[in-house]
Symmetry: none
Subunit: 230 residues, 3 copies
Amino acid sequence: MKVNSVRFALVVVGVFGWSMMLPSATQVGLSDKVLVFPYETDFSFVSLIPQKEMGLRAFTLCMRVATELPEDRQIILFAYRTADYDELNVWRESDGRVSFYMSGDGIFFHLPPITTFRTSLCLTWDSRTGLSACWVDGKRSTYQVYKPGHSIRPKGSILLGQDPDKHLGGLEAGQSFVGEMTDLNMWDFVLSRSMIQAWHYGHRVPKGNVFDWGTMEYELNGNVMVVDDD
Amino acid sequence: MKVNSVRFALVVVGVFGWSMMLPSATQVGLSDKVLVFPYETDFSFVSLIPQKEMGLRAFTLCMRVATELPEDRQIILFAYRTADYDELNVWRESDGRVSFYMSGDGIFFHLPPITTFRTSLCLTWDSRTGLSACWVDGKRSTYQVYKPGHSIRPKGSILLGQDPDKHLGGLEAGQSFVGEMTDLNMWDFVLSRSMIQAWHYGHRVPKGNVFDWGTMEYELNGNVMVVDDD
Amino acid sequence: MKVNSVRFALVVVGVFGWSMMLPSATQVGLSDKVLVFPYETDFSFVSLIPQKEMGLRAFTLCMRVATELPEDRQIILFAYRTADYDELNVWRESDGRVSFYMSGDGIFFHLPPITTFRTSLCLTWDSRTGLSACWVDGKRSTYQVYKPGHSIRPKGSILLGQDPDKHLGGLEAGQSFVGEMTDLNMWDFVLSRSMIQAWHYGHRVPKGNVFDWGTMEYELNGNVMVVDDD
C-alpha cells in the first residue's frame, strides 16, 4: 500500500513538474491556492515558516478545511512542536470533537462535523483569561477556560498533514491529514467576532502576522499538491 | 477533581481581581456581558434579585444559552424555589427535551438540541388558559396546556447554574450548568410573537419587568466569570 | 413479483398510450421533462445516445435526482459500458457514499444523503491531474485524485436505471434506480465552479456537448414514464 503510493507519487512528479518525494525548496505565497493531501501517508506534510517567532500568549488560528476521512478517524489539523513539547496541536478527534493541546491535556469542542464540504474553522485563545473558543463558519462555540497564564514557546516547527511525536519525526499514517486545506492564517492576538466573520466571508481583514496565506513561506514534503482554488 | 477546581479557581481570582470563591457583594447590570460557568461544580451559581415579587400568573422567560455538555446530561437552566416548592425550574432533560416544572409534574418540549453555539430560548405561560410554549431562535413550539389556574408563589430565591433541592442547599454537580448564559429577561406577561422575534434579533423590546439583563442585580458564588460579549 | 410488474406495465401502456415493455423508437428532447422509474425492476431503463463519441479525457456529468429508496440500498445512477469494461458507472453505494468507477476500482465521496427531495449532483474529472470531485447543489466536495492519465473508451452504451454486468445484459433489480431523474447533461471538459452553480440554479450555461437534456436522443425500455416537470 505504502509502496504503491510512493510509486504513484513518482509518476505524478512528472505530471506536475516538481518533486513531491523530496523536500522542495522553500516556496512563497499561496494566494488562491489549495493544498491537496490526496492519500493517507506517513511522509507527506507541509512545513510552514512563521513571519515571527511563535512565543505566543494569545492567538487566532484560522483555516478552511475539507476531508473525506471517516467520522471516527483522528485527524491532525495543525502541529506546532518544540523539542520536548507539542506546543499547539489541533485535532479532529475520533469522537468527532475538535480539540487543541498546548503542552499537555487538551480542550475539546462539540462542533458540527468536518465534512467533504469546506468548513471555515478558527480557534482563539488568550492566556490572560484562558478563554478559548472555536468558530465554525463565523459562529462562536461556548467559551471554555484553558491554561490561563500559559505561554506557547518559540523556535519550534510547524507542520500541516502530520503529527510529529518527536521533533520532526515519529509520523503516523493513521493520524495524517487527507483532504484539502486553504487560507490558513494566524494572528498573535484574539480577533473580534466581526473580524472572524469578515474572514469567513472572504472580506478584507488584517493580514495574519504569524501566518498569512498569501505570503506564506512553506516547504512541500512527500505527496502534497498545490492546486488552484476554484 | 473538585479539589483541583477549587485550587484552580483561587489562582484565577488573582488574574481577574475579584473573588469567585466567596459570595460577591451584590452587583448591578450585565449589559453586553456573558456569564461563563467554566467547570462542573456543586458550588458555582449566580443568585438573581428580581425587580418585583415573583407571584406570577403569567410569564415570558428568555435567555441565550450555549453549552458543551453531552446531549444526555441533565442541565438546570433556571431555578426559582420557595421554602417547600420548586416554583419554576427550567431543564434541558437527559433525553434532550426542554422542560419546565411548577410545583410538581413538568411539561416537556422536543426542540432542536442546545449546542455549543448560542440558542435563544424563551418560555411563555399564561395561567388563564394554561397555554405554554417554547420559542427557539424566534420559532414557537406547539402549544401545550399546563396548569391552568395555577400561581407561582412569591418570596423565593432565583439561581442560575444550580438546582437547589432545598432552600439554597442540596446542590448536585451532575445537574449543574456548564457553559454560557446571557441576556436573560423575564416579564410577568406573555410577549407577542413579534416581540419575541424582536428580542431574538436583538432589536428593542419592552424591558423585562421581573428581570432585565441590563440592570440585573446579582451575586456571584463559586467559580463563575463575567466576560464581555463579543 | 416480476410477473406482477409486467402485468401492471401492460395495463399502464393503455393509459399512457405508448409501449413501455418494448424498446420505444428513438425519441428526441426532454426539456421540462422528468424520467420517473416508478418500481424496482430488472428490465426498465433508458438508453441515451451521445452527441459525440465518448472517448473522454475529462468530463462534467450533472443530473437532478430524487428517490424514496432506503438509505442502505445500492442505486445505479449512470452506466456507460463498452464490451469488456464499465467505462463510467456512477452509484449511490449501500453505505450512502456516491462513487464512480472507470474500468476497475472506484472512488468514493461522503455526501449529504440523496432523498425524496431533488438533489442536483455533478461529477467532474480531469485525466491530466486526476482531480475529481462531486458537486451537491453547487457545493464542491473535497478533491480526490483518481486515475490520472486514464482515458474513457468510446463506442459503448449508456443506460439510466440499470447496471449492465455485460454489454446490455445482466441487469439486477436490487441495483436498479427507482425515483426521478431530470436535467442530465454531460460535457467533455471540467466546468468551472460558477458554471456548475449556474446549472444548479437553472441559469444559462453552455449546453452539454456529450449530452444535452433539451435535445437528448433516448429510448425508453420497460416501465419508465416521461412526465412534465412541475
